[in-house]
């Protein structure tokens, strides 16, 4: 039971429809896990269940040995369970620097202060600069998010998540919608994630998955149909049937 994070029998029914069925998995610190599966397999629902945007019909979410299933989304973030979004959710008229500053202040419980300056804390400013530097966002740090490239917005999503100092990070398709010329930058950012951080990544780009993940979990119709190392995935017949067949076809067309 040295797992940093695990889910047990996580189930979600919408009416009579089971979108997540008895999902169980565990992640130690430093894990690099890819969650893959065809569209509609319930990957984002799974992230929503884990982070508390949705309440499960059954099952438990355990972080650091503590059952967090009954906690809301905000409390889970404060405990270190952090996500990014499949479609970026950023404040279009704020700058990357403002996003990350706000996040760091929030983590320090200083974001609701009225009698202090937003940029008044040199320590916070230093940390923000460091984070933006790590993700290569310094040159656009003071441009409005609405004016920067989508790939940079995706990197900012990761910067915000890291500013929360997570223990477990759930990346919901971090490279979705990014032009292929920019994917190397995302991949570089993923390689530089703190080594002790447990990362679960949903991703459709198989090249990225195979380079990033130490383990792969395949979800189909709300159920885990495969767990193993990347090299075994392609050989598994159930996976091929559910998923990789489509992928291979899509690839040959492209």
């Amino acid at each position: 039971m040295s797992d940093l994070f695990r889910v047990e029998g996580l189930t979600k029914n919408f009416g009579g429809l089971a979108v997540s069925r008895e999902i169980s998995l565990a992640m130690p610190a430093g894990e690099r896990l890819a969650l893959i599966g065809p569209n509609g397999a319930g990957k984002t629902t799974f992230v929503n269940l884990v982070t508390g945007q949705l309440q499960p019909s059954a099952g438990r979410v355990v972080l650091n040995g503590e059952d967090v299933t009954g906690l809301g989304a905000v409390e889970r973030v404060r405990k270190g369970l952090v996500r990014t979004f499949q479609v970026t959710r950023l404040f279009s008229d704020m700058t990357p620097e403002e996003h990350v500053t706000l996040t760091v202040l929030q983590r320090e419980r200083k974001a609701t202060r009225i009698l202090s300056r937003f940029r008044g804390n040199a320590e916070v400013a230093g940390e923000v600069e460091g984070l933006l530097g790590t993700l290569g966002l310094l040159e656009v740090a003071r441009r409005k998010v609405g004016e920067i490239a989508y790939g940079q917005q995706r990197l900012l999503e990761i910067a915000i998540a890291l500013a929360l100092r997570p223990k477990v990070l759930l990346l919901d398709e971090p490279a979705a919608g990014v032009p292929s010329s920019d994917t190397p930058r995302i991949e570089q950012a993923l390689e530089r994630l703190p080594p002790e951080l447990a990362v679960l990544m949903i991703e459709h780009d198989m090249d990225l998955v195979f380079r990033f993940a130490k383990r792969v979990v395949v979800l189909a119709a709300g159920e885990i149909i495969f767990k193993g190392v990347p090299s075994e995935v392609a050989a598994n017949s159930r996976v091929r049937e559910a998923y990789l067949g489509n992928y291979a076809n899509a690839r040959s067309v492209a």
């Binding site: 008229d93 704020m94 202060r113 937003f118």
Partner: protein, 317 residues
């Protein structure tokens, strides 16, 4: 730096009003009181994205609290303003607690219901409020024990102007604090703010309390300067008009609230003198023109003009 210039401009405009319209100081003081109300709406609508058509409930709470205190022997003007601010803050806490349970259209309907309830309460509690006759007989003591509230309204106006400037400066600090940024974030995407680990409800409630205090100061100023509190100060009509003023001036800048109030009430005054029957039609036409031609309001239009001026001078910074 920009804000220092802005505040100097407000003081200059205020003093210009004092010298140019010495016979209309009562009206100008009314403009300041309403400007405080519109500023308080900007905090909620412009910075938090919560729509309200009931803000006069908070203005009226301040006006009646100051009025009732004054009738009962509290005549020191600064104390009355403080009482108004406190009453507005408490009303804001109450209003926020109710309104923030709902979202969108239901929230807007709740705000209307609350101002109607406040209105009815003020109407029915006539022993304290004077009911539909209004609360009259306020005798306010001299400011700092020296300056009497004179018949021409000079003291009231200068007092109001000083209050407005102080409140405006305080609010500039509020909206540029971490709290102010958090509110802007909530306005744009509460889900993202929650994913950053911040609760939404207590933050918005805090802004309701601040907003209530500002509206309450406006109400108390109106009570002190006119020496009467009427039911119109807790009316839906005042709530709706002040939201219109905000939209006219532009949301989320604080300056827009001032610009919108001055333009709306100035327009109202000028046009109603020329054509008392159709002035609202003209205001409606003006509003449509502004919303269609400059969705950011008049202050947004101004900003665009100055920004493009800068660009042609200095290029893109």
């Amino acid at each position: 730096m920009r804000d220092v210039a802005g505040i100097v401009l407000i003081v200059a405009a205020g003093m210009a009003g004092y010298w140019l319209f010495p016979d209309n100081l009562a009206l100008l003081t009314r403009v300041i009181a309403v400007a405080l109300l519109v500023l308080s709406i900007d905090l909620i609508v412009g910075y938090c994205g919560v729509a309200t058509l009931g803000q006069a409930a908070l203005f009226g709470a301040g006006a009646y609290a100051a009025g009732i205190a004054c009738v009962n022997g509290v005549t020191e003007p600064l104390t009355l303003i403080a009482i108004g601010a406190l009453a507005g803050a408490v009303a804001g806490l109450l209003m926020g607690t109710i309104m923030l349970r709902a979202h969108g259209l239901a929230q807007l309907v709740l705000s209307i219901a609350i101002v109607q309830l406040f209105h009815e309460a003020a109407n029915k509690a006539s022993a304290y409020t004077g009911g539909s006759d209004g609360l009259a007989g306020l005798t306010v003591g001299p400011l700092f024990g020296v300056f009497e509230f004179d018949l021409w309204g000079q003291t009231a106006y200068l007092f109001g102007l000083a209050l407005l400037v102080l409140v405006f400066i305080a609010l500039k600090f509020v909206v540029s604090s971490p709290f102010g940024m958090l509110c802007r974030g909530i306005k744009e995407d509460p889900v993202r703010i929650k994913a950053m680990g911040s609760f939404v409800f207590p933050v918005l409630l805090k802004m309701f309390v601040i907003s209530g205090a500002v509206a309450g100061i406006g109400g108390a100023l109106a009570a002190i300067s006119t020496q009467v509190v009427g039911l119109d100060s807790v009316s839906f009509e005042l709530s709706a008009n002040s939201l219109v003023m905000l939209v006219l001036g532009g949301l989320g800048t604080l300056y827009g609230a001032l610009v919108g109030t001055v333009i709306f009430m100035g327009f109202e005054h000028a046009v109603s003198a020329i054509n008392p029957f159709h002035w609202m039609t003209m205001v409606g036409a003006l509003l449509i023109a502004v919303v269609l031609a400059a969705p950011g309001g008049l202050s947004g239009l101004l900003e665009k003009i100055t920004a493009s001026g800068k660009r042609t001078r200095g290029g893109r910074a």
